[in-house]
């Protein structure tokens, strides 16, 4: 006889996610299930506890029912915003104000981008771009291209991102629009930085700095980028100076997110120099500088995971586990499923270092999360790469090879040659 679910019993998240079809309309509800699941029990000492993932957490369906109204309000707010933008675009078209129509479409795209609904955001931006190309005023087109470039880069489609930024830059230079030119240069620098092409990235960031003379936020970001490149090239002195400049700029602007990003970059550099005491202090300072009033979970997660990885590198496994589990709670509360996948990737890595074969559950959960809702193929490729290393440590060379090949396949559309080369090197090592 199967156990019946009474009103008082709880369900596991994995049961819920298996039961509910992965359709667009149910995504907010699936997110709600994730955010409502119970926290880990501090007093739980079962052997399974250290390897429990979100799937093993429980939730009460009646709590979902109780919060359904709020979830529906969220859905309504989003749809209302998008409809409002759409109608605004229609009315603008009717009055012949196409620039305004483009802006309305881009507003909707930005809204979707912020909600990490990248496919939707892409559709809105594409539509905006199509319309903007018909205008004599080139500014909307530059904006649309910059938005599209940023989105493609965030999705991991680096070649597509670079193409959009290049088009935007050409237009900006032709129009002598320094602000857009600076933004496009930064975008191009970001793409090359992601591809580990330091010289190219440096050239774009420097060029951006020339254009961004009076744009302080952009100056801060470009100095940060240049600092990161100087570090990668081993010029720590120049890197420290650039990062200091970025920090000063962000401090003066009161941009705490910028300050935190710069501190993270400084931490990475200190770690590379083996200055472990300093890097721990830097990351802790970054944690303390996180915006207090308007909590930014993504920024907080990026700091916590850096800290966790540092502990992992230092062999301080209990601290790494604590920090990662803390991040897990943040990611669950704020429904950050992609970050949750990254968190499990680190947990899996940790178990690999501890020689715990059961750690494979974290990779499997991470892969599931990458496929939950809008697929995150670039992230899934990263998970497979790390999963392969884990399997290799456990002596499963065949599985390791299969996972690397899967990662390679997933990376194909992204144009990230550096990542593919790393996979090839790993594959070669496995066959030796």
């Amino acid at each position: 006889m199967n156990a019946t679910i009474s009103e008082t019993t709880t369900l596991r998240v994995e049961q819920a996610l298996r039961l509910l079809p992965d359709v667009e309309d149910l995504r907010p509800l699936r997110g709600l299930v994730v955010s409502l699941c119970a926290g880990r029990k501090r007093q739980a000492w079962t052997a399974a506890e250290p390897n429990r993932t979100i799937g093993k957490r429980t939730f009460d369906p009646s709590a979902v029912r109780a919060r359904m109204g709020k979830a529906l309000d969220g859905v309504q707010t989003r749809v209302a915003f998008l409809y409002e933008a759409a109608v605004d675009a229609l009315e603008s078209e009717q009055t012949g104000d196409l620039s305004r129509a483009v802006r309305a479409l881009m507003r909707a795209g930005a809204y979707e981008e912020e909600g990490v609904r990248y496919v939707q955001a892409h559709a809105w931006y594409k539509q905006a771009l199509g319309l903007a190309e018909q205008l004599r005023d080139r500014q909307p087109e530059m904006e649309a291209l910059c938005n599209l470039g940023r989105l493609e880069t965030a999705r991991g489609y680096l070649d597509a991102g670079a193409r959009a930024f290049q088009r935007s830059l050409a237009l900006a230079e032709a129009e002598a629009d320094n602000a857009h030119a600076a933004g496009a240069c930064k975008g191009l620098g970001d793409v090359l930085f992601a591809q580990a092409q330091w010289s190219g990235a440096e050239a774009w960031f420097s060029r951006g700095l020339e254009y961004a003379e009076f744009n302080r936020p952009l100056t801060g970001s470009l100095s940060l980028g240049l600092g990161q490149i100087a570090h990668r090239r081993g010029d720590y002195r120049a890197a420290a100076q650039r990062l200091e400049r970025a920090l000063d700029t962000f401090e003066a602007l009161g941009d705490s997110a910028g300050v935190v990003r710069t501190l993270l970059a400084r931490g990475v550099m200190e770690a590379a120099q083996g200055r472990l005491t300093e890097v721990l202090a830097t990351y802790r300072e970054a944690l303390s500088r996180l915006p207090v009033t308007d909590r930014d979970p993504v920024l907080e997660l990026s700091v916590r995971l850096r800290l966790a990885e540092l502990y992992l590198d230092l062999g301080r496994f209990p601290d790494a586990e604590d920090e990662t589990r803390h991040a897990e709670d943040v990611a669950i509360t704020y429904q950050q499923t992609r970050w949750l996948a990254r968190i499990y990737l680190i947990m899996g890595k940790l178990r690999g270092r501890q020689g715990d074969e059961a750690g494979f559950v974290f990779f499997e959960q991470a892969i599931d999360l990458c496929r939950l809702g809008e697929p995150a193929r670039r992230l899934e490729a990263d998970v497979y790469c790390e999963y392969a290393r884990f399997r290799a440590i456990m002596g499963d060379r065949d599985e390791a090879r299969a996972y690397l090949e899967r990662a390679r396949e997933l990376l194909e559309p992204f144009g990230d040659d550096a990542a593919r080369e790393r996979i090839d090197e790993d594959l070669q090592r496995l066959t030796q």
Binding site: A3, A44, W45, A48, K56, V361, I367, D368, R406
Partner: protein
């Protein structure tokens, strides 16, 4: 009182406890600052003695006997910290350290903490803050170190069993009895009582010990993966099956398969397990071929399987297949003397892992450990000791190394009478250590207090490594 330390052995005495004021060594800073510090320190019932230069500091430190060191980190804090980084590792016993600084920063605090500095206090000093810090540091210094017993664990492969208690002797007897057979075994016990270790012991002492021992925790693996994990799958059997996978049953063939937390398995999977045990064959997910397997199954659970059967959540036929022999593991609280043996064993294990040598545990730390209710049994104890070793600064594990929340509640809490009690030897060692502290190491005086002959006491001091 402020005094400069003279280079004279007679000035330097061992640490004073009880009614004698605690002695603090002051390093760095200028005399006027030290006069102020000394006044505050005196108000806390301690004395502060200042060294004039690096040479006298080194000599004072080498002699030891300080309850704590108060160092001033001024404008040259980096250089001063470097000096301490060089000096401290060379000392036989690391002193407890407090730092005061006019320019506190996170980087300085962190560096000082890594050096083992207990507190970094900003200047100008707040009297209450200094007093609270001193009280904390001196309380830790006043704890009496108790030597750790020597432990001889029983090796089970890379794992070790530590026990001398009567409750575990019964378990050993059953293991010895059942190991040579191929009977299926069900191990029951609370979380953290060592079910997997017992399963490994059965395997290690059985006829299959040259073959694999494969463990699966049924509660940790996602339901949709558990079947493929146990029975394997063919490439492409489902999304994500990127390679052919050999299941745990096949991997354990010829050896032992340990199914932990079997009560967490779905009824569907329970029937597949039953079939695999009965038919001695498995089928990979997505494969049509029956693969013969020869495994000894050992299962474990912390749940009441009979209750689950009554509720229809566990198959009765599978239960009787698994429970041919049942071993029930005792809670840590019921294992008496094993508690201190396990503590000692974990201190050594993690000491090795983290490059520390811990030779004793303070009386207060020991009381706190004994007074704790170990819901997680040995696993919880192991976890607490690992964290304590990570933060432990000297060669004695002290109460400050234990979880903060324990210390907060400890003053009001009576030590639980249900916790494991001290052995006669432990109590004797602790009492002798306390008396010796009271007499500042004077054996004759201590023997008089204890009412034993001086030679008897000397023998006991040697025996207990006091």
């Amino acid at each position: 009182m402020i005094a400069e330390v003279a280079l004279d052995d007679t000035v330097l005495q061992p640490a004073k406890c009880g009614t004698t004021p605690a002695r603090l060594l002051g390093v760095g800073g200028d005399p006027s600052l030290f006069r102020e510090l000394a006044r505050y320190v005196e108000q806390s019932g301690a004395t502060l003695e200042r060294t004039a230069d690096e040479a006298t500091t080194l000599q004072a430190l080498a002699h030891g006997g300080w309850d704590a060191v108060l160092t001033v980190l001024d404008r040259d804090a980096d250089v001063q910290l470097e000096w301490w980084e060089e000096v401290l590792p060379r000392l036989a016993v690391r002193p407890r350290m407090i730092a005061v600084t006019p320019a506190p920063s996170m980087s300085l605090a962190l560096r000082a903490t890594e050096l083992g500095v207990t507190a970094v206090l900003p200047l100008p000093l707040e009297r209450d803050q200094l007093r609270a810090t001193l009280n904390r540091v001196l309380a830790a210094a006043a704890e009496t170190p108790l030597p750790l017993p020597t432990v001889t664990p029983v090796a089970v492969g890379p794992y070790q069993i530590v026990s001398q208690s009567a409750a575990m002797v019964d378990v050993y007897r059953t293991i010895a009895h059942v190991a040579p057979s191929t009977a299926t075994v069900l191990i029951q016990g609370e979380s953290g009582t060592g079910k997997e270790l017992v399963a490994r012991a059965i395997h290690a002492h059985g006829p299959r010990n040259t073959r694999s021992f494969v463990a699966v925790n049924c509660a940790a693996i996602p339901e949709n993966l558990l079947e493929s994990e146990l029975f394997g799958h063919e490439k492409g059997a489902f999304t994500g099956a990127v390679a052919r996978k050999i299941g745990r049953f096949e991997r354990a063939s010829g050896g032992t398969l340990f199914l932990d937390e079997i009560g967490d398995m779905s009824l569907v999977l329970q029937s597949k397990i039953l079939r695999a045990i009965q038919e001695r064959e498995v089928e990979r997910v997505g494969g049509g071929e029956a693969i013969p397997v020869d495994v000894r199954v050992i299962a474990a659970t912390n749940q009441d399987l009979k209750q689950m059967i009554a509720e229809g959540r566990f198959r009765e036929d599978l239960y009787y297949r698994l429970a041919v022999v049942t071993i029930r593991l005792p809670q840590l609280a019921a294992r008496g003397d094993d508690f201190i043996l396990l503590t000692s064993h974990f201190l050594q294990e993690f000491g090795r892992q983290y490059g520390k040598r811990i030779v004793a545990i303070s009386d207060r730390a020991s009381d706190l450990l004994r007074g704790h209710t170990w819901i997680g049994n040995v696993r919880e104890l192991r976890n607490v000791i690992e964290r304590a070793v990570l933060v432990c600064e000297g060669d004695v594990l002290r109460s400050v190394d234990l979880p903060e929340e324990w210390l907060a509640g400890a003053t009001k809490r009576e030590v639980s009478s249900t916790g494991p009690l001290a052995t006669l030897q432990e109590a004797e060692a602790r009492h002798i250590a306390q008396v010796l502290t009271h007499t500042h190491g004077q054996i004759g005086e201590a023997a008089q207090i204890l009412g034993v002959h001086r030679n008897t006491l000397a023998r006991k001091i040697k025996e207990y490594h006091l």
